[in-house]
């Protein structure tokens, strides 16, 4: 019996990601969720600008490539004209938390019934390793060569915390994909974010703390350790917003 194989919701196209980049794991988790909920035929994904720009080639469902940061707006359009379809975006930290912050916050506050997979690896990967809104204090990048100086460029944005301050969004959780246990939790969160949409619950965002070995200048294994040592202490994992809990209590 096969206990583990490539999900059907992925195409046969090999990922272009660098060796050890955990984008591939997150793609797989999204595809597993789509398979398990049996929604591939009515799902439309929205790809970002950034490392995952070619996500449209990897997911077997219909796909739209959005302009940088605009995926939540594009997804809003898709969902509003096809309310029974399942619409998700897959976005990085530059895309979602920098240039697309307005689109993100407003989709959240409309409780738009879409699913957002937000990959936070604290750096701009595609352009070669520049500072992201989520780069850690002191983190050396191409555009913060002396380390992120919080006195001049401020502190990182904690997207899950920020969005959970809004009343409207249904579900916000932060997970990581740096070890087997965390990947399994990430899978549960991602599946739930899709399940919420199937049930018409509203805006569901999963922030996935991910690695960028190439631009962090680390081996794939060391990059996963860095997530444990540096990223997770700054970006604690957990459920930040869960209106199903609030509704239970009410």
């Amino acid at each position: 019996m096969t206990v583990f194989e490539k999900p059907k919701a992925l195409t046969d196209k090999p990922f272009h990601y660098c060796p050890g980049c955990t984008h591939g794991i997150i793609h797989r988790l999204v595809a597993e969720a789509i398979d398990e909920l049996d929604i591939e035929g009515r799902t439309v994904g929205v790809a970002p600008v950034g490392c995952a720009v070619m996500a449209y080639d990897y997911f077997a469902c219909d796909m739209v490539e959005a302009a940088h940061g605009r995926a939540p707006a594009v997804a809003t359009g898709l969902k509003r004209c096809m309310p029974d379809h399942i619409i998700f975006t897959y976005q990085g930290d530059g895309d979602l938390a920098s240039i697309g912050m307005a689109e993100t916050v407003h989709a959240a506050t409309r409780n738009e019934n879409i699913t957002i997979i937000f990959v936070n690896n604290a750096i701009y990967g595609m352009t070669g390793g520049q500072m992201a809104p989520t780069s850690l204090p002191g983190q050396v990048t191409q555009t913060s060569p002396y380390g992120r100086d919080v006195a001049t460029v401020g502190l990182p944005i904690k997207v899950s915390e920020l969005l959970s301050s809004l009343d409207a969004p249904y579900y916000v959780e932060r997970v990581a994909v740096n070890n087997v246990k965390n990947v399994r939790n990430a899978k549960k969160a991602i599946k739930r974010a899709f399940q919420n949409q199937v049930e018409g619950r509203g805006f569901s965002l999963v922030e996935v703390v991910s690695s960028c070995p190439t631009n962090w200048g680390k081996t794939p294994e060391a990059a996963l350790q860095w997530i444990d040592e540096k990223m997770i202490p700054y970006y604690p994992l957990g459920v930040y917003k869960d209106r199903s809990k609030e509704e239970e209590q009410a």
């Binding site: 195409t11 591939e40 035929g41 009515r42 799902t43 439309v44 929205v46 720009v53 070619m54 449209y56 080639d57 997911f59 077997a60 469902c61 219909d62 796909m63 739209v64 490539e65 959005a66 302009a67 605009r70 707006a73 594009v74 997804a75 809003t76 359009g77 898709l78 509003r80 004209c81 096809m82 379809h85 307005a102 689109e103 916050v105 407003h106």
Partner: protein, 354 residues
């Protein structure tokens, strides 16, 4: 024949869009076109349509991009500064070969400019506006009736050629009330096998995209698009020719400027000056051939514009500078009076006969 109703230009656009089967509107308030959004906000929920006030013009046009990708008739509207913000999305819509309608009820610029009527977005509308090689079909109505008719036409052309179309009006046209006979209801008749409506696991996935990392492939899409543009230039040019049969001078004007100019043409004729007018209705494709032909007939041209002179460049190109081309213009929200146009015509005559 349907009864005429008295409507504001902006409202005529909105109702005509609904009659053309548009059930998705995304916009952001800006003077002087907000009536379109207000009208849609009122009507869409009653007819099972979608009105959504976006967080920005940028979001609005990207919502349009999403709906257009799914193959539905969709529109947004704005005024000059807001249309500047939409340019990114328009470029993507053009690059992904999607049909959509963008309405620009122009106001004075640059920058925040003013809220009075203008035609100073002519370059932006007809020369591309955003980045990359692309065109918009640009329709320039000059009456409330045409605002309604051209809205329906814009949807049709956008779908026929899989590209964004723009209705280019101005503040006066938007606010003006006139009797209008609303167009018959219509709907999309174009098959859209490319739309992202879900694979149903019955076909390979569709991808709405404008990214091509292979330059040869990207070049091919550009050439293919320009082949389509050539067809449009051959088949879709619209213009009005007014008293041109025996004209010795030709006024060229569109939109509100054409209404003023028509009065000036009549006044000139009353004074014995043989003047006619060619009014481009499609600004792109520009009525090049009819103007080139007019250059064989008339002694000079007068471009009347609510800008510092933008269409005049296309006029000079179309007529290959074979005749003098003068400009009669006001800017910043001012409209030339028929007297000013008449004065300019007399000056043109003076120069041509000197």
């Amino acid at each position: 024949m349907a009864d005429k109703v008295l409507m504001k230009g902006n409202e005529a656009i909105a109702e005509a869009a609904i009659l053309a089967g548009c059930r998705h509107y995304f916009g952001y308030p800006i003077t002087p076109q907000t009536e379109i959004a207000a009208y849609m906000a009122k009507r869409m929920p009653k007819i099972g349509g979608v009105f959504l006030q976006a967080e920005s013009e940028i979001s609005a046009i990207n919502m349009v991009y999403g709906v257009a990708g799914a193959g539905f008739r969709v529109m947004t509207s704005s005024s000059s500064p807001g249309v500047s913000l939409k340019q990114e999305g328009i470029s993507y819509i053009a690059g992904a070969d999607l049909p959509a309608l963008i309405v620009n009820v122009q106001r004075g610029g640059p920058g925040l400019g003013g809220i009075q009527p203008s035609q100073s977005d002519y370059f932006q509308a007809t020369k591309g506006g955003g980045h990359g090689d692309y065109r918009l079909i640009v329709l320039a109505p000059s009456s409330v009736q045409e605002m309604a008719d051209m809205t329906a036409k814009a949807f049709e052309l956008a779908e026929k050629y899989r590209m964004p179309a723009m209705l280019l009006a101005d503040g006066t046209m938007g606010q003006m009330m006139e009797p209008v006979e609303l167009p018959e209801p219509s709907e999309s008749k174009v098959e859209k096998p490319w739309a992202v409506t879900g694979t149903k696991k019955e076909r390979k996935h569709n991808i709405i995209n404008s990214l091509y990392l292979n330059p040869e492939e990207l070049e091919r899409t550009n050439f293919e698009r320009y082949e389509r543009y050539k067809t449009i230039e051959e088949n879709e040019v619209l213009y009005e020719s007014y008293k041109m049969e025996d004209a010795e001078y030709c006024v060229v004007a569109f939109g509100i400027a054409a209404r003023v100019s028509k009065n000036a043409v009549n006044a000139a004729r009353a004074r014995g000056l043989k003047v006619g007018m060619i009014r481009p209705i499609t600004l792109w494709p520009f009525p090049k051939d009819v103007l080139a032909k007019a250059a064989e007939q008339v002694k000079g041209f007068l471009s009347v514009e609510l800008s510092m002179g933008q269409m005049i460049e296309d006029l000079r190109l179309a007529t290959a500078c074979r005749r003098p081309v003068h400009l009669c213009n006001r800017a910043g929200g001012m409209i030339p009076s028929p007297e000013e146009v008449l004065d300019a015509l007399n000056k043109l005559k003076g120069e041509c006969e000197a």
